[in-house]
């Protein structure tokens, strides 16, 4: 992603945040056009946005940020964020060509986010759901301690509330700057997902452009259902690493969502405009009894002040 994209992404983000507090001013969009990466069509940004950032001409799915994703999936104003203030520290005192702390600030400046995942409790078509959305726009969606901890706490919140869990993945892999502690987040998240699964919880993992490395090799691949977005590139090792290792060119569709479907790795590839409905359907399908449902509803409605991780209204963040 180049700077222009980052900037466009940031601009968009600001607008969404305003959406929550004040009505949309149409003028802000008018000047904006965007070119489709796939078919090269020049798209009117408002149309693109109305179409959930999917090219109306060729169905190319643009990368979207965590806030957009929440807006698209959660019922209006239902998302109550968890651990909004959690930030990375610098356990290794890491410095490559720049200090990790500086890189963190830079990442936040570009993304408008504190970390590469937003987590919270929301409703999806009325059904209480624990939802995590990663944002590739923040530090390449890399998983360090905070991403691991937030996903873990989200899972714990889902166990507590007996609610389903959905994580929208998008990541370049583990965050090298936190060294071995980043690697441990793979085990931490997988471990809590084991507890969640043993408790009978439903976990749906959504793989979006791009999902690689330590995230794919942990919670992304552990869903009871695994859904990929069309065209998303998903894998363990990056294309370049593989090409260098095997010294041959890879097929064009290698590691795309469709390739994964063909190779039995995902349950389905679902277009963004059908994603929310599909999730709602899967959740409904797996609600075992009316009584459990009621417990869920009660806990989610009344528990804002309870529990170890307190949900916070999204507006209060930053």
């Amino acid at each position: 992603m180049d700077l222009k994209d980052w900037f466009a992404s940031r601009q968009k983000r600001r607008e969404i945040q305003e959406v929550i507090t004040q009505p949309l001013t149409t003028e802000e969009y008018c000047a904006l056009w965007k070119q489709c990466f796939q078919c090269r069509e020049l798209l009117y940004t408002r149309d693109l946005r109305t179409n959930l950032d999917v090219c109306p001409k060729c169905d190319y799915h643009f990368r979207i940020g965590a806030l957009d994703r929440i807006e698209q999936l959660a019922d209006e104003n239902s998302f109550e964020e968890l651990d909004a203030d959690m930030r990375s520290s610098d356990p290794l005192n890491f410095f490559d060509t720049e200090a990790y702390t500086k890189r963190q600030d830079e990442a936040s400046r570009k993304s408008g986010l504190r970390e590469a995942v937003l987590t919270g409790i929301c409703k999806i078509e009325g059904q209480t759901t624990a939802l995590g959305c990663m944002d590739f726009g923040h530090f390449g969606g890399s998983m360090g301690s905070v991403v691991g901890e937030k996903v873990t706490r989200l899972t714990e919140a889902a166990i507590e509330r007996k609610s389903p869990l959905i994580v929208v993945c998008s990541s370049g892999g583990a965050r090298m700057q936190e060294g071995i502690l980043s690697l441990m987040q793979m085990a931490k998240t997988s471990s809590v997902l084991k507890s969640f699964s043993d408790a009978g919880g439903l976990y749906i993992s959504i793989l979006t452009e791009p999902t690689f490395g330590g995230v794919t090799a942990s919670f992304a691949m552990l869903g009871d259902f695994i859904i990929a977005e069309p065209g998303a590139r998903i894998g363990f090792a990056g294309r370049r690493v593989i090409e260098q290792t095997i010294r041959q060119k890879l097929p064009a569709d290698f590691q795309t969502a469709e390739y994964l479907l063909k190779h039995g790795q995902v349950d389905m590839v679902v277009s963004r405009n059908k994603l929310k409905a599909t999730l709602a359907r899967l959740i409904t399908f797996h609600q075992s009894s009316a009584s459990e449902l009621e417990i869920e509803d009660n806990s989610s409605e009344n528990s804002n002040g309870q529990g170890s991780s307190e949900p916070k209204p999204l507006g209060a963040r930053n």
């Binding site: 990375s88 520290s89 356990p91 890491f94 071995i180 085990a187 992304a220 552990l222 363990f236």
Partner: protein, 320 residues
């Protein structure tokens, strides 16, 4: 065992090697020139002090070099040293027996364990067969079925780790390397038997962690453990292949550093210069440590030992 072979000196050991050569040369002249005895003694002292200072001040990249030493003991060496009658178990039952992942039944001082470990291979042919210690998904699935076997029969699990990572190849991606690793992480988190892991050489990223979710994690003194190979780190963060040493330093991947970060439980001393100088002694030391850890863990109930493991990993992370 490669112990009987003369250790091949590493790059950073060149000064020592040169000194040793000079001493050899001098020694040959000794019978003709007995007066050289004093010189030789002095050189011997020099050699000892250089050796001590060299190994006391190893840079992270020197540890890496020792961890990768071609004569370093490998998983099969340890298994054979610990239990000459160990029973090897092959295959994932679904089409592949990945030689990069060795598994079997071992008895350590009367404690029966299901053991798995990555295997690098000694000869060129072995290396190729073992894919240089980088398992395919099927290797992890072989480990998975052995973990399940261990859990069913209430046998502790022992994992030896020495791998640069999971293999990055076309078939590996096709057969879902990610899922294979992730499933192992989840399975190991949930087993109700003690799990002890030891990093004996390289612990490289998810491919190492896939057999590393243990109640107790040990590292040999010169082994390394990192989220990515230093070469990978250097090429991504420094965009340069010359910065491997910097990457090693920055990532804090040596046993001592990983211990300080609280990720592992114990560092096992190696012979001066590294495990390849004395396979027998390092195998013996490692075994003592493993047995001690197992004995401690065997005091826990099945549920306690699982909870202990999950609590351990739950705590990893640093944030504000």
């Amino acid at each position: 065992m490669a112990t009987d072979k003369k250790p091949i000196p590493l790059e950073f050991e060149q000064p020592l090697a040169i000194l040793a050569q000079n001493m050899d040369a001098l020694e040959k002249q000794l019978s003709d020139n007995p007066e050289l005895e004093a010189d030789l003694d002095r050189m011997q002292e020099q050699y000892s002090s250089l050796k001590r200072s060299l190994y006391l001040n190893l840079r992270p990249i020197d540890h890496l070099a020792i961890a990768r030493h071609p004569q370093r003991p490998y998983t099969r060496d340890y298994f054979a040293a610990w239990d000459p009658n160990w029973i090897e178990l092959h295959g994932d039952r679904k089409g592949v027996d990945d030689a990069a992942m060795v598994g079997g039944l071992l008895e350590l001082d009367g404690i029966k364990v299901v053991a798995v470990g990555t295997q690098k291979g000694r000869t060129l042919r072995d290396k190729q067969q073992c894919n240089f210690g980088m398992p395919q998904p099927e290797g992890y699935r072989k480990a998975l079925r052995l973990f399940r076997h261990a859990n069913k029969f209430k046998l502790p699990i022992l994992c030896l780790i020495d791998t640069q990572g999971a293999y990055p190849g076309i078939a590996a991606e096709e057969h879902n390397q990610s899922q294979a690793i992730a499933e192992n992480l989840m399975e190991l988190a949930g087993v109700t038997v003690p799990v002890v892991a030891a990093i004996t050489g390289e612990g490289g990223s998810g491919g190492a962690l896939a057999i590393g979710v243990a109640n107790r994690i040990l590292m040999l003194e010169h082994s390394v453990y990192s989220v990515i190979t230093p070469e990978g780190c250097a090429s991504i963060l420094w965009r340069s292949n010359d910065k491997v040493s910097e990457a090693c330093q920055a990532m804090k991947m040596t046993a001592k550093e990983i211990l300080q970060l609280g990720v592992i439980d114990q560092v096992i001393k190696e012979p001066l210069g590294g495990a390849h100088h004395d396979h027998q002694s390092v195998a013996a030391n490692l075994k003592i440590a493993i047995v001690e850890q197992l004995q401690e863990l065997l005091k826990l109930s099945p549920q306690e030992v699982r909870q202990h493991r999950q609590d351990k990993f739950r705590a990893f992370g640093s944030f504000r």
